[in-house]
Amino acid sequence: MSTADLECVDLTKQFGNFTAVDDVSFTVPAGSFFSILGPSGCGKTTIMRMIAGFLEPTSGDILIRGRSVLDVAPNKRPVNMVFQHLALFPMMNIEGNIGYGLRRRGLAKPEIARKVDEALERIGLPGIGKRKVDELSGGQKQRVAIARCMVMEPEVLLLDEPLGALDLKLREHMKIELKTLQAAFDTTFIYITHDQSEALVMSDQIAVMNEGRFEQVGTGRELYYRPETAFVAGFVGEANRWRGRVTRAEAGELQLATEAGLTFAGTDHGRGLAVGDQAEIFVRPEAIRIAHAEGDVAHLENRMTGRVTSLLFNGAASRAMLRPETGGDEIEVTLPQSGEFADLGRDDTVHIGWEGAQANAFSAGGS
């Protein structure tokens, strides 16, 4: 069993009265891709800046390979950072950028040149060393920014939403490339983002963060299918959501009445909701079956009939918005890819249904 590359223990950061990071602990195993996912302002950048050394924690400890780095200055930490806007040095060429850290370490010139060439080779951009920063495309800059850190052979590489500035197509491409680079360099990556698809695609482990705390740490699959909190259920992936009250509870099987007067079957996955509790219910659009004939959904515990109010075509992820006959909010439903509903039009009436096990209920706190 190898020691973890990075361990944060009871990490807290306060700015005046405001607690940006509230008692966060986590461990990142060596060589893994760890993401911190959360909305802007949740404190994820603060954690990253504490790890990099630009901020000092109010309390708690940060350990890299088992050693506390709290009293190590940022320029001495075995940690490097890829900044949100990359922060390449515009006053130097590519060689100068990648060789900067090595020069600071006092390596000999030929060795620096060799390492820079090697790094350029690794990122698939050999021979661009003499170019200027602004002559590169967005994706090339991205790779140079990573290479600039990787020549330092850091124990942990921090990435602060590095794909934010790229256009969608390139972002999709870079997601895969980042994962490949991480495998190639075999270094621990800590990646922060507010974009769940970046986190889900690349990460071995994801921490979902909200208001300074970690809501849940797990694999993408766990977060998506077994969210532990209402925040995670709402933040990761799409979900239809209702508020209601528990009317019957039997071994995790719940009966809920929504504020609009609907009755749902649901499940609490061991969170122990009791009769009378206020609850939030999340149902993923793809968990809902859609049918032309009412009989096709008859076997499902929750059923509804609705009118299509709009169709959101998005290739494989096309959806329909339905207004239930019984009233209440619109429901988002993923259309099956069989082509069966290719001719669905507005105002068509369809039948939908889902299993009680797919309706994830969380205590909504208070009453």
């Binding site: 050394g53 950072m81 900067y100 850290g101 330092m152």
Partner: protein
């Protein structure tokens, strides 16, 4: 359509052309004509370069010019050394209201005229002035200390007068430097000195160059500060020009001096740019 565009172009360009033509080109041409006129008798003149020869023939004039240029260069360097940290603090460290307040503080001295500012320094520096009184009161000096009427006083005045013109371009260029670039410099193992040398100064170079040119030219062309603070040894080239024009009624020599100042200062600026590997183009855009 095309004619309309042409008219629009003429209308847009004409203020610039008028300004350049009426206020810069024509007076300079006229000055040049005056400078190549030699007085040979009462109201009689002939064309010659005698006035330029007079400049090179009289060591006093050349010495005065060299002294003026050296002092101006020194003033520029001191202004840069003081202005750089000030600008860095305002642009990168101070935030919000403090930032605007500090910036305003740099501007405040320019709300009063240069004459009043110079008088302010005279009040502070003179033998019976505030600083001298304070030194005596605190026991650091046992007799009045004269700090006025010497080159140090000129230097103080020049640096003070020029500070804003150095700080503003520096703040502008440094504000455009992303904080994360500085952080990246530290993150990759740099310390304060190397980040300053490799990242902040190269980035601020256009501001340094344009600020230095402005301060150098302002110092070279300053008249009030050297004459008022400088005392009996204050030789300043603009003083020579003034006295030729006004006191000696010798417009011809004064005009020649004016052109020598224009020419030599341009040579110095050009030479410094060459020496430091900068170009005017990279500075301006």
């Amino acid at each position: 359509m095309q004619a309309g565009a042409k008219l629009g172009f003429i209308l847009l360009i004409s203020p610039l052309v008028l300004w350049l033509g009426l206020l810069i080109v024509i007076p300079h041409v006229d000055m040049f004509l005056v400078s190549i006129r030699e007085r040979i008798g009462v109201g009689q003149y002939q064309t010659s370069f005698a006035n330029y020869m007079a400049f090179f023939g009289e060591p006093l004039y050349i010495i005065t010019f060299i002294r003026t240029a050296m002092m101006s260069i020194l003033a520029t360097v001191i202004t840069l050394l003081i202005g750089f940290p000030v600008a860095f603090y305002i642009a990168k460290i101070a935030k919000g209201r403090l930032q605007s307040a500090l910036f305003l503080l740099c501007l405040v001295p320019f709300w009063v005229s240069e004459l009043v500012r110079t008088f302010g320094w005279m009040i502070l520096l003179r033998e019976t002035g505030l600083i001298s009184k304070f030194l005596q009161w605190s026991g650091l000096a046992d007799q009045p200390v004269e700090m006025l009427y010497n080159d140090v006083a000129i230097m103080i005045g020049l640096v003070y007068t020029s500070m804003l013109f150095m700080v503003v371009p520096l703040i502008t260029t440094m504000e455009s430097l992303d904080d994360s670039v500085i952080e990246a410099g530290y993150d990759l193992g740099g310390n304060g000195a190397s980040v300053l040398r490799e990242i902040i100064i190269p980035h601020a170079m256009p501001g340094i160059v344009s600020g230095s040119i402005v301060v150098f030219m302002l110092s070279l062309g300053n008249y009030l500060t050297p004459t008022m603070l400088g005392g009996k040894d204050s030789l300043w080239f603009t003083e020579l020009i003034y006295s030729q024009f006004i006191v000696r009624f010798n417009w011809e020599l004064g005009a020649a001096f004016g052109f020598m100042l224009l020419f030599l200062s341009s040579v110095i600026v050009w030479g410094t740019l060459k020496l430091t590997g900068q170009t005017l183009k990279s500075t301006m855009g």
